[in-house]
Amino acid sequence: MEVNTQTIIQNREISFAKKGIGWGLLAGASWGLDAVLMGMALALAPFTNTLSLFAAPLVASCLHDGFSGTWLFIKNVISGKWREYARTLKTRPGKLILVAAIMGGPIGMSNSMLAIHFAGAAYAVAITAAYPAIGAILGAIFLKEKIGLRVWCGILLAILGSFVVAYVPPSGESHPHFYLGIGLAVIATIGWALEGVISTYGMDLVDSDIAIGIRELTSFSVSFCAILPFVGAVAYQILFASFSTSVAWYIAAIGLIGGISQLSWYRAMNMTGVARAMGLNVTYALWAVLFGWLLSDLQITSTLIIGAMLICLGTILTIGNPKQLVTIRSK
């Protein structure tokens, strides 16, 4: 191989790795914006319904995933990939994407909501913020991802920073089902980590744009048919009532941002590996602070600044040297 050709190949592969990092950063930023906007939408009727504490977030999450899945399908129609949905679903890696979708969507999200309800936000957030570390460990074991000491330090710093940013001091109110809540938070954390590892394994063969399209539509379908019935009729009342107000259309617009975020996250996992993509995705806590300050009445405190600095430092360490990302896994 000539030196000139070698250089071109090397540059092309480094460019691929850099794009993967770019997708990871975009995933974190857009998820932060998505979270702030969803928080604002949840403050509007009919989500202010007080008949069930966790019906509103579960309904909003279900609607959000449905709209995201629809936007992603439109995107895949425009890019000429829509035939790949049916072809992919007939394969075993395609079915693995379905499993990953259930792990991350209904299991991850629903248990996280229930954990906040049963154990309080302080403990639930502290536990679920650790999902990138669990994902990185599982990625190293099952996918043989190469994760150096610097990247580990980066991931742990980003987790610590997101914990500091998202931490809410215990309110002092009693939680009679506290340990149930802790258990559900652990299940949510494992669910999100498993989603990353299983979907990345599937995306070795499945196009990442199709994988995330399937993921969002599966998450919506399972939430609609299997999670909302547990909440009761109030969930469907809220869901259908939202279409008689403008809030469902706000969520449709937010779903576009969510779709971009999820697409970026799946591309990043495929291009840079689970560990780095999750380490970059967890920066959403930092972006949520920035967008919250810009779009709502969020006050910047010293705790937020310390958390933001930890996330920035963690991100720099996680990104590392793109030259080392040309081959993601050990042989």
């Binding site: 072809r87 394969t91 196009d207």
Partner: protein, 90 residues
């Protein structure tokens, strides 16, 4: 027989013919998937780099044609052979 997803088919082609080039893969796919706009140079290159970065395929040789166009030939790796079970069983 129903068609495989395109990225699956790329790996299958590399498994079937050691040393197949990116140009040959693109020509075969254009014939097999005439209505799929995703079968173009840029998207197939993306699939090939993606398959290579996760270790499913290895590069055998690369030549530069007309000072700008890369012609790269590939072979399947041991890991890729292991994943062929997901393709052959479909």
């Amino acid at each position: 027989m129903s068609k495989l997803p395109i990225k699956f088919r790329v790996l299958q082609l590399i498994n079937q013919k050691k040393g197949i080039t990116n140009e040959e893969i693109l020509e075969i796919l254009k014939f097999e998937y005439p209505r799929d706009r995703v079968v173009n140079y840029k998207d197939i290159e993306y699939y090939l780099i993606s398959l290579k970065s996760v270790g499913l395929i290895d590069s055998i040789s690369v030549t530069l044609r007309d000072h700008s166009k890369l012609v790269e030939s590939y072979k399947i790796s041991d890991y890729g052979m292991n994943r062929m079970k997901y393709i052959n069983n479909n």
